[in-house]
């Protein structure tokens, strides 16, 4: 099976030759080709080269457009601070919607209008052209809570949930419409799988998630499904208390942060594809290769038969290559749900060396 076939089969709950391998790589990917991250987030050709080289080096089943949370907000006019070698970020004191009244003036930016959204659409098209059917091409958009936080400021948004829920719903409506427009543009460029990152919602708790955030995510998923997109949800932080709700959103892949016990995730959403969730800093970056093997073995045991290997979030910069290769070796030597290793590794690909560089 190609990586693309493997991921599609897993999402369709069909049999696969071995466990898919879909870690999020961003700064790690930039480092693979020796470019500063500031270049990676502003030049789609650099991102594409880094993604392809990283996917080839570690036989990752996807290539992804993910880079940073500031593309849509920047095109809307938000102040974005760029750094030479780390992700762009927002200064909350200058948030675009520090005055709530500004929401009515916002207009959805054209994803093909020449801004950083367009740069991502170009990345999608180039990835599609270069990887053909070998690996699945993943687009990326911000989830409703994360994007609302980018625009309003996360501290303000957390208070708005209680002070002014009507405003938050209006903001979510705007964000969902904008993200669907961005998703459509990436789909048209060749994306088959859309990743949705929501780095903020785990802070809000179950009640606010159920009442306000869930409806926005559902609307987003329904819109993407209507486009024919497959979907992956990555929610940062501890979402253990909202796992049941996550399972009702309709995403094809539920990508878990390392704070979530995968046994809990599997128990709460037994029919879902679960991706994750090796601890990024303690294990992936700072652990030993044996720690990585132990962690992925535990994930595989806990996640059930619909399991995809990945880290709990972005694979951190300075993660030893041996740790990525250990995950690849595990993926190649196991079928989902079968705890015994395969005798012969399926598929082809570069020989795996487990030696630390």
């Amino acid at each position: 099976m190609t990586g693309r076939e493997r991921v599609l089969a897993m999402m369709d709950h069909r049999s696969v030759d071995r466990i898919p391998f879909m870690p999020i790589t961003m700064m790690f990917a930039a480092d693979q080709i020796g470019v500063k991250y500031g270049k990676y987030v502003t030049d789609h050709q650099v991102l594409v080269e880094a993604q392809i080289r990283t996917a080839e080096r570690f036989d990752i089943d996807q290539v992804s457009c993910i880079s940073d949370p500031a593309r849509e907000a920047g095109d809307l006019g938000a102040e974005v601070r760029f750094f030479e070698d780390q992700p762009p970020a927002f200064d909350e004191s200058d948030a675009l919607l520090r005055d709530k009244k500004a929401l009515v003036e916002l207009r959805i930016p054209d994803p093909l209008g020449g801004g950083r959204m367009t740069d991502r659409v170009k990345a999608a098209a180039l990835l599609k052209e270069k990887v053909a059917g070998d690996r699945i091409v993943e687009g990326w958009i911000e989830g409703p809570c994360a994007q609302a936080a980018n625009l309003r400021g996360i501290n303000r948004l957390m208070l708005d949930f209680i002070d002014d829920p009507v405003f938050v719903r209006d903001l979510f409506d705007f964000v969902v419409a904008m993200e669907l427009s961005f998703a459509q543009a990436q789909k048209d460029a060749g994306v088959e799988l859309m990743g949705v990152g929501d780095a903020a919602l785990s802070l809000a708790g179950p009640a606010i998630f159920n009442q306000m955030i869930m409806p926005a995510h559902k609307k987003l998923v329904e819109g993407m499904k209507a486009m024919g997109l497959r979907t992956r949800s990555h929610m940062c932080g501890n979402t253990r208390r909202i796992l049941k709700g996550r399972g009702e959103l309709g995403y094809d892949i539920e990508d878990m942060d390392s704070m979530v016990p995968l046994a809990d995730a599997h128990a709460q959403m037994p029919n879902h594809v679960i991706l994750g969730n090796i601890a990024t800093v303690d294990v992936m970056r700072n652990g030993t290769t044996q720690d990585v093997v132990n962690a992925v073995t535990k994930c595989h045991q806990d996640a059930g038969e619909l399991y995809i290997i990945g880290a709990g979030c972005e694979v951190p910069r300075d993660t030893p290559e041996a740790h990525m290769l250990a995950l690849l070796e595990f993926a190649r030597s196991h079928r989902p749900g079968d705890l015994q290793p395969l005798q012969v590794h399926p598929g082809s690909g570069p020989a795996v060396s487990m030696q630390n560089p």
Partner: protein, 212 residues
């Protein structure tokens, strides 16, 4: 002493108006600022921290409680200044240079303030020199640093080095925290402590100060 209970309840419920009015009423009844702090505010924020750890409260409730507590402090602070009363421990806190993420730092700052400590919040993207200046000028007992990104964590080490170079490292305890930060990293860079959450940070500060 119904106003003490009212203030406790108002902070717990994150009701800023009620916290303000209960504090005003208590002042008019002659309740002293330190009695309000130790009798209502600290216990209320302790309970908020407990509920947060128990996953009954989340960040919105925590920020609301902090806002209510601050509205009470705004009324008490002038009275404390005029009567020469001071909070026991002064803490300087900030997110390190290059890192604009501040919600974790804000939560810790609120919890420290709610724990009866004086907090000087330097904000986000704080250069080492600003930490050094704050230590020289405000004479805190504790410096707290936060980082959310692995790429900004090294600024914690740089800041500690700057405190050493300025000859003020021994004047303060240095605590660090943030999603990628670990206790091992605290040891590596020569910090005095690490906490993985806001409630733990309050206890750690108090313990380190009591050990001096």
């Amino acid at each position: 002493m119904s106003n003490l209970t009212d203030l406790y309840d108002a902070i717990l419920m994150g009701d800023t108006k009620k916290a303000h009015s209960a504090t005003q009423a208590a002042i008019e009844e002659g309740v002293g600022p330190m009695d309000l702090i130790s009798g209502s505010m600290v216990p209320a924020m302790d309970e908020v921290g407990r509920l947060f750890e128990a996953e009954e409260y989340f960040v919105p409730e925590l920020l609301l409680a902090g806002r209510a507590m601050k509205s009470a402090m705004e009324l008490l602070r002038p009275l404390m200044v005029s009567s020469g009363q001071k909070l026991g421990t002064r803490v300087v806190i900030g997110t390190v240079k290059g890192d604009l993420h501040d919600i974790g730092k804000n939560i810790v700052a609120s919890m420290l303030e709610g724990g009866g400590l004086e907090v000087i919040d330097l904000g986000a993207d704080v250069a080492p020199e600003r930490f050094v200046s704050a230590v020289k000028e405000r004479e805190p007992q504790v410096v707290c640093m936060s980082a959310l990104l692995t790429v900004t964590m090294p600024a914690m080490r740089t800041t500690i080095e700057a405190l050493k170079s300025a000859g003020v490292r021994d004047r303060v305890k240095v605590l660090i925290g943030g999603a990628p930060v670990t206790s091992q990293y605290a040891i590596e860079i020569g910090a005095d402590g690490y906490s993985e959450n806001a409630s733990g940070a309050v206890g750690l500060v108090k313990r380190l100060i009591s050990e001096e």
